[in-house]
Symmetry: C2
Subunit: 343 residues, 2 copies
């Protein structure tokens, strides 16, 4: 829930057509988002007739802070990014990104093809000068504190210099959004002393240790992601993607086992009823829909990737993330700091 | 628990001095292991006086199937493997490995420094001819089925050829131990279509697809590790180590939250008492001590790495794993099959 002190108006463009569950989910999430945040306006991008019909269902009198922008085409999940960039310029995704580039929206949200979204972001909005590659960053929930992990799959490999730049952008993101003045930045590495990391990671560590602007704390392991050891954890996109999905897999497995335990018998259902209020915190923490939304970092604008399978609550979480980044003026702040550091 | 049809005598050497918790834990796990398995003999390797004193405490009348082998030195956790190989030849770890090489033990278990253990294994026992690099393999528990994941950190990078060989060894291990005739073998990869894997993974996939001997099913993602999609999942040691530890981190976090929920209030403790029998399956599945033990694959002998922080139950699990691999004659079977395939 957004705090009531939010007064600066914010506009978010939503690629309403992408995502496995179709526009019905996006439209009702948009209605809910403007309902909970009086400073928020939303532009739903997609097939106008379809979106207006859905909007009429969700908000029969229409809504003054939601408008529809026509986009006849849709990027498919199996489109190659290069194909989408050439042939889907009138897609809901491309139009939503363009609204950000043109300043008509502060940020955008899409549940479509990640590679295409990154591609449109790079070509339409552009990247920070001096940054070689973008990264996908996500705030990982845990018991104490939360930490940004990046890259989660924008690139399948990374040079030491790429890792260094991702550490820098992650640090600036954490400063801008979480308000931490000196976020603790770490590199993800393996545990065994004798095989401490591959060459790129060791070299990146060397670069980071010499930096005046980054509060580099050294290596952390996979299990440290949930222990409030660092505010920003950097790895290449291959490792990050697999670590994230493995963690989600374990969480999913445990949710399934909990559900089994509390539904399979009458006794289980009874105890489950008693346990429900006790397990609220745990279930909130591992409910993926509450943590939906990853930041496409490196672009000169706020672009949030929502999960392809996002439900209404999950889309809402992604919209909130975009709003927060717009309110915190993440691109402007990162740009200014990069100007100071990289020049 | 071992089945009662076990009749072939098996001897396991235990590096009794390594591990964070000291020899008391190893000795009492050894006593329990011979107690539950009448065909098992154990050689405890370490400082004789210390081990015999501990043994006397655990089994006052001594035990006919446990004997102590003197080793004056111990490999330290922060010893570099190269240092250990040169200067710790009389360590409990080296002696335990030597007992396997000399045929005095069918297999050995150590909770010491992984790099040193692998080094002693390679130099004292030797590797399969034709296999370039060893791998660390572990059976990952899940709701349905279980799968071997390798490499978990023997190497921090891997060529396509290394990945192919790890897939081959993993497949032979699963055949030998789990008795599957055509284990499903997969490569761990990232989810997004457009960035399907780095170069080594794509090349390894190509090699595996052409193999007659491996039942290669393609790519799987991190979340698939727990979905009985494959019997063997192959990745490089950097990725595997981080994925495993991230998964363990999530499980640890959830256990902590469950404990909080069921201990923080009188009501919580009451409901926890009622829920305990229902949660037994879940707690068994995520209890790391029940799944302790990783196989050092590629060596011509059974060498099991136990977790440095293993408690008594965990050491027992590692010993059972070694016993199972000896009973299944894993090294002989892999050797024979490799002879057929690689020659």
């Amino acid at each position: 829930m957004l705090e009531t002190h939010t007064v600066k108006p914010v506009t978010i463009a939503i690629d309403a057509m992408s995502g496995d569950r179709g526009p019905a989910v996006t439209v009702s999430a948009a209605v809910q988002a403007v309902h909970e945040n009086k400073a928020l306006s939303i532009i739903l991008v997609g097939i106008q007739s379809e979106l207006e019909a859905l909007l009429l269902k969700s908000a029969p009198q229409g809504h003054s802070r939601i408008r529809v922008e026509e986009a006849a085409d849709v990027v498919r999940m199996n489109d190659r990014p290069s194909f989408a960039l050439r042939h889907r310029r009138n897609s809901s995704m491309a139009v939503a990104v363009r609204l950000v580039a043109e300043g008509k929206a502060g940020g955008c949200v899409s549940a479509g093809n990640t590679g295409a979204l990154m591609g449109f972001g790079r070509s339409i909005i552009g990247m920070y000068p001096g940054i070689e590659r973008p990264a996908i960053a996500k705030l990982i929930p845990s018991l104490r504190g939360r930490c940004y992990v990046l890259d989660l799959g924008a690139n399948v490999d990374a040079s030491a210099e790429n890792l260094y730049q991702h550490a820098l952008m992650g640090s600036l993101l954490a400063s801008a959004v979480a308000g931490k003045s000196e976020p603790r930045v770490a590199l993800l590495n393996v545990g065994e002393e004798e095989i401490k990391g591959n060459e790129q990671v060791r070299l990146a560590s060397h670069l980071l240790a010499q930096s005046d602007t980054i509060n580099y704390i050294g290596y952390v392991e996979g299990s440290d992601l949930f222990r409030d050891v660092a505010d920003v954890v950097v790895c290449d996109g291959f490792v990050g993607n697999i670590a994230l999905k493995t963690g989600e897999g374990v969480a999913g497995l445990l949710i399934e086992l909990l559900e089994q335990a509390f539904t399979r018998s009458l006794y289980g259902r009874f105890v489950g009823l008693l346990a429900k209020p006790l397990l609220r915190k745990l279930l909130r923490l591992i409910d993926p829909s509450r943590h939906n939304g990853a930041s496409l970092l490196g672009l000169q604008g706020v672009v949030v990737k929502s999960h392809g399978n996002a439900n209404e609550r999950a889309v809402l979480a992604a919209v909130r993330l975009a709003v927060r980044e717009v309110e915190c003026e993440v691109p402007r702040r990162i740009n200014e700091r990069l100007d100071e550091i990289l020049l």
